[in-house]
């Protein structure tokens, strides 16, 4: 039985419409829950770089936007203790071996690192992924450091004459992460007034 082009078009169109409708309804039903989960995830990563005893607000919901040198808008999550800022956190990015590495950096008001955690990366399993807390303690060594402690020229991996260990078999990932933290801290010191200004 041969049917005309129009029939096929109608059949295909009906299927597209039907499944489009199903997906639209599912999106409507899940939209709120997905938003809530994303917020929880953010709070989770923030709580690791902004210690709980530093604030009594919810930093995930207390944000300001600061533009960096390249005009990129950076969302700053602020930790407040009875009305005054005790620390801030923001996302930093570095170029790893296999694409972008996203990290969350927490800094106190004096520019000291409160904590750094990897949010996402695509580094080689077994080599570059030791930047995760799950796979090693490497990322924890930055806590308490700042520009000047160690001096800026030491904010490099050992291979480049700095003070931070690279991994055996993987230099590019740690080099990128160290560089991103250094840039992140420099961003804090150049924009300190803006970041810490109260509304």
């Amino acid at each position: 039985m041969k049917r005309g082009t129009l029939t096929h078009a109608i059949i295909l169109g009906t299927f597209c419409f039907g499944f489009g409708l199903v997906l639209a309804i599912t999106d409507r039903l899940t939209h709120q829950a997905i938003g809530a989960r994303a917020l929880e995830d953010r709070q989770n990563s923030l709580s690791q770089v902004l210690p709980g005893n530093l604030h009594n607000n919810n930093p995930a919901e207390d944000t300001i936007i600061v533009k960096d040198e390249e005009g990129q808008e950076i969302t700053i999550y602020r930790a407040l203790q009875s009305g005054s800022i005790t620390g801030v956190a923001y996302e930093i990015r570095s170029l790893g071996y296999a694409g972008e590495v996203k990290l969350m950096l927490g800094v106190d008001v004096n520019g000291k690192v409160l904590g750094v955690r990897v949010l996402s990366h695509k580094e080689t399993p077994g080599l570059g992924d030791r930047i995760e807390t799950k796979k090693g303690n490497w990322i924890l060594q930055f806590t308490g450091l700042s520009i000047g402690e160690p001096p800026i020229e030491k904010w490099k991996v050992k291979k480049d004459g700095g003070q931070f260990d690279q991994f055996s078999g993987a230099t590019i990932t740690p080099r990128g992460v160290v560089g991103a933290i250094r840039t992140g801290l420099e961003f804090f010191s150049t924009h300190k007034a803006e970041i810490l200004r109260m509304r």
Partner: protein, 225 residues
């Protein structure tokens, strides 16, 4: 084929016509997601859900899907099911989604679901099609878990690491260390290891078939997807 034997369908899906080891379909997710047994298991389960759902739908609508537009309709159905699973898991099974989320969109690039729609679901009633989707899905899951286990043991020296993240804390007992630390051959969890492990396991499966007197099962469709 009218007198459908469910036994036959299940056996085909799990062993005789196994999607990975016999038909060599779905090579893209197979290579990409078998860096550990847990990853393989997760990818397999997500694929099985999509395969069961899309087999069911195509069998249900098979009288309305004309020959000329069947391929776009199949792709539409698989893609819709994948998006549905993605949204629902993100909303209501978020812990699982954090582990599996990465793999789910990859199911669209798997040509095994599409192959089963064309070869089976389009011609059979709803129930056999559903059984076929589930068996093929479980066969795919088993294959990926086995490849993942081989690669994980050889590459990282562990087996089922992080299984508790996927299946819940009750499954912590599955996580074990087979080889001492730093004994693994890193290449096995890198892409070449995927080809090596899959190739060797295909040989093993065919040897078992030959030994058991079945002869080598030649599948109809050979392609990579």
């Amino acid at each position: 084929m009218m007198a459908t034997s469910y036994n036959r369908i299940v056996k085909d899906g799990l062993w005789d016509n196994n999607g990975v080891f016999s038909m060599l379909l779905g090579m893209c997710p197979t290579m990409a997601m078998t860096t550990s047994a847990t990853n393989g298991l997760g990818m397999g389960l997500a694929t099985a859900v999509v395969m069961a759902a899309s087999n069911l739908l195509v069998a249900l609508f098979r009288k309305y899907i004309t020959q000329e537009v069947r391929i776009p309709v199949y792709i539409l159905i698989v893609a819709a099911m994948v998006t549905l699973v993605d949204l629902v898991m993100n909303a209501w099974m978020h812990e699982l989604y954090k582990v599996l989320g990465l793999f789910i969109p990859l199911i669209v690039s798997n040509c095994l679901p599409l192959a089963r729609l064309e070869a089976f679901a389009a011609k059979e009633p709803v129930l056999p099609a559903l059984v076929d989707g589930i068996s093929m899905g479980i066969g795919f899951t088993l294959a990926l878990t086995v490849i993942g286990s081989v690669r994980e043991i050889a590459g990282s020296g562990t087996l089922f690491a992080d299984a508790s993240l996927l299946l819940g804390p009750a499954f912590t007992f599955m996580e074990m260390r087979v080889l001492p630390e730093n004994m693994g051959v890193l290449m096995m969890i890198l892409p070449p290891g995927g080809f090596l492990a899959t190739g060797l396991l295909v040989v093993v499966k065919r040897m078992i078939d030959v030994r058991s007197g079945k002869g080598i099962q030649m599948a109809g469709a050979h392609s990579v997807g």
